[in-house]
């Protein structure tokens, strides 16, 4: 078994290695006709840029994206500088150099990678999946009898914040940096999944398709791990199946198929304000231009946030969204599960959490208010502030850096719910409902708690569960996403997630159940 696992790791690392090397590999040759097409499509009016490109790029062969992209960005920057100097603003190119390089790169790939997509898919995704499963599936045997198996989590480098964890940390951060800020380096990755993308939407793959596909693959593989690790725990099995279903069907397949059907790309479960650009002008316009389906999406998006989400939270707690449906939650509960113990439990972190997450919610709401005002009043500024600059700030700092780079990149060191706990505006909103008007609670089982701290240690949201459990108090914290792991790891059967009457949900007690009835009466009188 150990041998199979070790071979699995080796295969996985080969796949990962090739995948990580791809951004630096491949050859690109831009031919004249393709370049003319791009110039036409992008409505490029800068003859300086076109000339520069004709001279230095078109017809030449480049090895590796670094080579090509540096030429493109130089041509673009030089042209723009001159146009700005000469006040020829009509000629200025507003496409970012990274995006320009990625558009050109995508259409000029030659050589082995671009021509052997299937083989390259196998050498990256294929080997990665195969190797990971060879490592994971033998755990059915190696973990022993079913039950909580957290042995050695803090002894292993990968899960105990050791050097492997730091490597993963840097790898994930680099990956997200490419995704958000250097998409030209993802061009080779897009070739791998072109066939899949074409079979779904009919289009070639962009880097976001790579991300979406990879997201699903990682969730499936890590869900296999969840199914094995928690095979004694039906709640975890059902919940894992649920997040997997919503990711694959709602976040991945439906939007792609909608594109094929000439409909807008839309994830029906992605609720505002997590879906922060839902009310952005371009989105509203595209929805309004899409006829019936566009209108339906518009109404659905509003109803989802205003009615469905809070009503469901009333009945089931915010878990129905955060750990049963949400994509961010889905990744956190599968890929992130081995890291859940690293969330900080200090009171200080809780204070930071409350300021940050509510701050982001306010930011999102204010931004959306400005956006809608601008849309209806047909103005680009509100009180002298440019709406688009606020939107860009949010997109870059919250939407990309916080939710993506930090949200997932920080998994191995700081735990798997950084974004959900500190940043997600939707989670903040659901949290209010959960805290003040919900039937959900984690019931503490009388006096059975022995303060061991497994619950707090494995709470991904950094809730000090033990602090409540040892007092015999139910847990009704707004941040609880109801993953159910505190209940799973409890050795004494103290915690139960349940939906029940609101009365008696919050039960501060000074004295343990079982201790002296008179004393309890006395305390309750106070």
């Amino acid at each position: 078994m150990k041998a199979i696992q070790n071979i699995g790791i080796a295969i996985f690392l080969i796949g990962l290695g090739i995948f990580a090397a791809l951004p630096f590999m491949g050859s690109f040759q831009l031919d004249q006709s393709t370049f003319d097409e791009i110039v036409a499509e992008k409505r490029i009016k800068s003859e300086l840029f076109i000339e520069d490109m004709q001279q230095n790029v078109v017809g030449k062969e480049f090895t590796g994206m670094i080579d090509l992209s540096s030429k493109i960005s130089k041509a673009l920057d030089d042209a723009n500088t001159t146009h700005v100097k000469n006040k020829e603003y009509k000629k200025k190119i507003y496409t970012k150099s990274s995006e320009m390089a990625s558009i050109i790169g995508k259409r000029s790939g030659t050589g082995y990678i671009a021509n052997n997509k299937g083989m390259m898919w196998f050498l990256t995704f294929g080997l990665g999946i195969l190797g990971a499963l060879m490592f994971i599936v033998p755990q059915v045997v190696t973990l022993g009898k079913k039950g909580i198996k957290n042995d050695g989590i803090y002894h292993q480098s990968s899960t105990g914040q050791g050097w492997i964890a730091w490597l993963v940390f840097f790898f994930l951060i680099s990956f997200y940096m490419v995704l958000y800020f250097g998409s030209e380096y993802a061009v080779n990755w897009t070739y791998l999944v072109d066939p899949i993308s074409e079979s779904l939407s009919g289009n070639l793959a962009g880097h976001w398709f790579v991300y979406g596909f990879m997201y699903c693959v990682i969730m499936v593989v890590m869900a296999v791990r969840m199914y094995i690790k928690y095979r004694h725990n039906m709640y975890q099995l059902v919940r894992t199946t649920s997040v997997l279903f919503f990711q694959i069907v709602f976040a991945f397949l439906i939007p792609e198929i909608m594109v094929r059907l000439q409909m807008p790309y839309y994830d029906f479960k992605n609720a505002f304000p997590l879906d922060y650009d839902f009310f952005f002008q371009w989105n509203l316009k595209s929805l309004l231009d899409s006829g019936g389906i566009g209108l339906f999406i518009l109404v659905w998006g509003v109803v989802l946030t205003v009615v469905i989400v809070p009503v469901m939270v009333y009945f089931f707690g915010k878990r129905w969204y955060c750990s049963w449906v949400c994509g961010c939650g889905g990744l956190a509960e599968t890929l992130g599960d081995p890291y859940r113990q690293h969330s900080s439990k200090s009171l200080f972190s809780w204070k930071v959490e409350r300021w940050l997450i509510h701050g982001v919610l306010v930011f999102a709401v204010v931004m959306t208010g400005m956006t809608l005002y601008s849309f209806f009043a047909e103005t680009s500024t509100v009180l002298g502030i440019k709406t688009s600059s606020i939107q860009n700030t949010y997109s870059v700092y919250i939407g990309s850096i916080f939710a993506g780079v930090i949200g997932t990149g920080f998994y191995p060191i700081f735990g798997n719910r950084m974004w959900c706990r500190f940043g997600c505006p939707l989670a903040a909103y659901l949290g209010f409902v959960q805290r003040f008007k919900s039937r959900f609670r984690i019931t503490t089982n009388g006096g059975q708690c022995i303060s061991c701290g497994n619950c707090s240690t494995y709470c991904e949201q950094g809730i000090d569960v033990r602090a409540y459990a040892q007092k015999g108090e139910n847990i009704v914290r707004s941040s609880c996403v109801g993953c159910g792991v505190c209940s799973a790891v409890c050795p004494r059967g103290v915690l139960k997630l349940e939906n029940g009457p609101e009365e008696g949900r919050i039960n501060p007690t000074e004295v343990l159940l079982g201790n002296d009835v008179d004393l309890m009466e006395l305390v309750n009188k106070k």
Partner: protein, 448 residues
Amino acid sequence: MEHIVIIGNGIAGVTAARHIRKNSDKRITIVSAETDYFFSRTALMYVYMGHMKFEHTQPYENWFWKKNRIELVKGYVNTVDHKHKKLVLADGNTIGYDKLIIATGSKPNKFGWPGQDLPGVQGLYSKQDLDQLEANAPDNKTCKRAVIVGGGLIGIEMAEMLRSRKIPVTFLVRETSFWNGVLPAGESAMINEHILEHHIDLKLATNLVEILADENGRAKAVTTDKGETIECSVVGLTAGVSPNIDFLKDSGIELGRGIKVNRYLETNIKDIYAIGDCAEQHEGIGQRRPIEAVWYTGRMMGETVAQTICGNKIEYKPGHWFNSAKFLDLEYQTYGWVFSERGMKENEQHFHWRDDKEKICVTVAFDKETKQFLGINTFGIRMRHEIFDRWLTEKRDVNHVMEYLKDANFDPEFYAQYEHKIVSKFNSEFGTSISPKKKSWKRIFSNA
């Protein structure tokens, strides 16, 4: 300002300190020789197994004590001088007190086995024991085999710990079946099976005779009363615990096995109280033992003595017995009294159900004549404490318990339910025709 000094920073002492602070402004000092800060002893095993770091066993952050004006002194109390109301520490310092609470807990039992003090032989109780085990048995190369002596809760925990590092374990148990002095036969048998499933070499009805030393004076083997010699690197002595009160021998405080206290947790000397594992009631309360080394009784005594010290004199009245434990992967809960065949009362009758596939079983004890429900043991099914506490107070009969068993289920959502199987076996054994009622929130939350 009155100065309350507490010896021991375990659950009993710390609970007392916290509740005294809640209810008063008195000066509070906790003295401990074990650790700087309070930690949960129950979680030590998880540190060795790598589920947690030691800091996770500390329920309060380090700033908590200063903020709540609870002074912490690290030191070992050599003597209690009640005439001058002061403590003398091993380093020579003295601490004066107005009221003293002794909460020094337990220490592992040693029964005079030859070789019991050799290096490589240890118990598992304190932080120091954990550190020692880390040194004695870091992996299965250093520790080729461990022998554990004593088949109780700590023994099986220690076996689980060592197995988590793939160290071969031989488990010597005096009884003919694991913990059968406490558990009824069916349950005890199920745990025997489970221990073997975890590849622990369980030797029942086997006693330790001697621990042998190698040429360096370290433990190298044990001999048993079955004539066997078992080579090993580590010997775990887990044959129960007893009150940690040696330092009080000549203090004038009345001692039995523990520190004798009345129902107000007062010792024979004014202004000195004892709580937790080290306290011994003159007579057991209800069917409880005079000394109860249980986590929650430590808490309750702490809560109670704090009331008394803050001027609200209150008797220690633990309610209905309950407890829980985990044997490897098997969770165990008990509410009320279910005695083993050995300890069974004359009027006590048992109903036992065990699932035919899973390691899940239930034993219900009730009165032969009146059918009054006496207690329940469950393995692999979690139960709701509040419900059983209520049923015991209301003196419900066993039929009622069967009928409303679903109200008491505390398993996570979507778990398989066993009430129908349990009740149908009960029906066929006792000729009843009970059908279990659907779970009702109204009943669960009705405070009768």
